[in-house]
Amino acid sequence: MHIMEGFLPVKHAVGWSIASAPFVAYGLRTVNKRIKENPEQRMLLGVATAFTFVLSALKMPSVTGSCSHPTGTGLGAVLFGPAAMAPIGGVVLLFQALLLAHGGLTTLGANIFSMAIVGPFTAFAVYRLARAARLPFGVGIFLAAALGDILTYVTTSVQLALAFPDPAGGFAASFVKFAGIFAVTQIPLAISEGLLTVIVFNALARF
């Protein structure tokens, strides 16, 4: 779920954009460097952006029987690197706003922060930790994708709670409310995404 256009107050919208900017800038620098070393990377990252967009439109069954879309942050972070995912995810989020009315322009910064920064970096960190801990590859991939997915939505809940603290319980209570709606309902979907990502890597390993 992306935060819709106009939902965040100006200060928050601007704040999250400023928070995202260095990550996107760093991502762009990495991407530029990769292209300079290997010109084919320009096309690769372009197609990867389209791939990320298309993947997020995939209708995935959840363990609870409902349907949802994968965030693709885990898959993307491992395949293309977490730094590249910030500009890639940024473009995908802009396209989702303009082509699907999903998300928004003023909330782009906030959505980039949760989907294209926290998600991929969490997934990548979990993946590396799992490798370092010598966990089986499949377990590492599962944890990376599932936790990347969950943390994305936890971040969204934090963003909403900061913008709309509960009149009685303040930030904490508000966080519990939003997390209850966005992050907790996401747990079965995160498990699905984790499983899906494992299947993807298993299939890729066989090619």
Partner: protein, 246 residues
Amino acid sequence: MLLERYAYTNRWRRVDPAAKGLFSLCGLTAVFMATGPAAAVPAVALVATTLVGTGMPLKSYLRVAAPALLFLATSALTLLVSLRPGGPSGIVLSLVPAELPHAALVCTRSLGGLAALLFLALTTPMNDIIALLRRLKTPEVLLDLMTLCYRMLFVLSEAMHDMHTAQAARLGHAGPRRTLRSLGILAANLTMQVWQRSLALHHGALARTSDGPLRFLEPEYPHSRASLATAALGGGGLIVLAVVTI
């Protein structure tokens, strides 16, 4: 993608995207400047302008807006509910009527923002938006990613759709477990295609004497100045409406 279709067929398609972007931006400003339910005034004006400009029926407009409206409904409800510790279950949920004006403001602002976004999205094809971003000196790599993403997302989604259909024809989507497995295989195939297709594109670009960034001829728009002036006037109007009705 319904939005796309209107972006290409609407009456204002040939209008300079800078003008449409400016109007949209003014709309957003107006919506954010309104401190009360007054935000509804520019919102309604934006919706009306969009419907007139694109000539799309209200029903399609609502369909396009549906996912955002769903988000708004759940989130706005959350604002009206308060949580505090206590009671037998540890937490008490209660409705807070005092929050109603605040929630109403957020709703009108969001609806207005959505209307401004939809104005741009429904009147301006993505290529024009990318061309506009180029004029605004967006980093070149980002523009390349956008151009390639926009072209290839149709190619990849067609490939995905074909694979999905082929899997269904061989019963790959009978039951959730099989579906998840089939989708995993599908995504893996699509992943492979990312590399194959990007190499093919790389060759294609080389054959057309490319030596790096993708360069294209900027599109030209007739009466660019006049439309910019009109947009500024209309957009200014929106802002005035928002400020006056406070």
